[in-house]
Amino acid sequence: MDSNIEQPEKPVISKGIDGFFKDIFNIVLFIGRIFKEAFKRPVEIREVIRQCYQVGYKSLALITMTGFITGLVFTKQSRPSLSEFGATSWLPSLIAIAVIRALAPLVTALICAGKVGSSIGAELASMRVTEQIDAMEVSAINPFKFLVTTRVMATTISIPILVGYTGLVGLLGSFLDIHLNEQTSFTSFFQEAFKNIYFLDFITTGVKAVVFGFTIGVVSCYQGYHATQGTQGVGKAANISVVISMFLIFIEEIFIVQIANSIR
């Protein structure tokens, strides 16, 4: 019997490079399967809503605090430089450009990569090592559709909403500081703030948010779903989910900004 004979190791360039390309191939298959399952009936609406609640609503407090502080601190730190040129009136516009174009999507994505990514990675990994995913499979339930597709959909839907919210809260933090220092009214702050914001900025930020959300979902689900090595694997999956998500978010940021600037 063939399987009883020891097979020689397949030739590889190096185990590291071989593994890297294997992972890339597997991730492409993984993403392909997410799209395939997402459009297959029955659509797991209830589970997607439950996951949106977990990803979105449960991140609100942290996002509110971080967004508000980001806007406030960025305003405080920008004021001295602008006041040197007597240009503090440009503050609302400067802050709005920074928050809407870069800070809101980036801060939200990084926080969600830490909070949501680690949580999804650890949850799925724990389900894998305790055979809960196998249990679903043998109960004739499609665990990929129920666990992975729904979570990726939830992060892709929720993170853009959170990005919009972070932008708003960040601007409010900035307004508070400007109002206290320059006595600017709410209306004139927002009129000034949106003077230099264009439709393309909203589109770019929206695209970034969707891409970041999808990335966090895919990376953390992939790591969790393929976890091995018992409880050690759970920690590893959570950790790698965060690290890779954050790394990819920065890479994607560069590409999207580059594309947006070439259009602008």
Binding site: M1, D2, S3, N4, E6, Q7, S126, M127, T130, E131, Q132, D134, A135, M136, E137, V138, S139, A140, I141, N142
Partner: protein, 248 residues
């Protein structure tokens, strides 16, 4: 002899250079409890995972309820799985759901259009069958090891399978709970007319529940027959089992 519900022929499975199964042949007839006995690492769990379609064999034939498992499409495999229940070693209960939800989940998913009232009734009846109706609102983390295994069995039973696959049903339990689980396995066979494969290294379990005993060593079946037939021969392997169970 009644019809064969599981028919495995010349089954091989390796993980890299580790040859786990080396030419397994086994038949399970309708209503029969077959115990696969062997030390840890002999490939017992791999065998039932192949039967359930969780692992693919390298070669050989795995016929379950007249269907070749490794050639089935995803849809057909899912259909077959409704008739094959798998009880995991540690229960594998969904820890974010209550006991009731654990049972209702596979039922709702596999029975489109079922009413909440029917689900509730079915959950209650099945929990009653394993003697744990009182735990319906508890979370898996609040259950003892024996209770988790019973709930695992109940969750499998709620789909009314024809075949039950038990992976180490008595591992890590005290002798009294072991007896309760053994009685439950026999009760399930009587009440739900299931055929079963029970993977274990526990002699008491094998004796209590097995109509046929198969002893496995290094990926092969080395002895089979009734408990008395297998254990009347006092060779080295059998002695090892007696020693192990005596110490236990």
């Amino acid at each position: 002899m009644s019809e064969k519900v599981i028919d495995i022929h010349d089954l091989y499975k390796s993980f890299g250079t580790n040859h786990v199964l080396r030419g397994i042949d086994i038949n399970v007839h309708k209503g029969e409890n077959v115990v696969v006995l062997g030390r840890s690492g002999t490939g017992k769990s791999v065998l039932i995972k192949i039967i359930a379609g969780l692992l693919k064999p390298d070669s050989g034939s795995v016929n379950v309820l007249g269907k070749e498992v490794d050639t089935l499409s995803t849809v057909d495999l899912r259909e077959l799985r409704l008739k094959v229940g798998f009880c995991f070693q540690n229960g594998a209960l969904y820890d974010s759901m209550t006991v009731g939800e654990n049972l209702a989940f596979p039922l709702k998913r596999n029975t489109p259009g079922i009413s909440n009232e029917q689900v509730r009734k079915s959950v209650n009846v099945t929990l009653e069958a394993v003697g744990l109706l009182k735990t319906i609102d508890q979370m898996p983390a609040e259950l003892s090891g024996g209770q988790r295994k019973r709930i695992g069995i109940a969750r499998t039973l709620i789909l009314r399978p024809d075949i039950m696959l038990y992976d180490e049903p008595t591992a890590g339990l005290d002798p009294i709970t072991c007896t309760e689980i053994n009685n439950l396995i026999n009760e399930v066979q009587r009440r739900f007319h299931t055929s079963s494969i029970i993977i274990t290294h526990d002699l008491t379990c094998a004796k209590d529940v097995g109509d046929k005993i198969v002893v496995m060593k290094e990926g092969k079946f080395v002895k089979q027959g009734t408990f008395d037939e297998v254990f009347s021969t006092k060779d080295e392997l059998i002695n090892e089992f007696y020693d192990y169970n005596f110490i236990q």
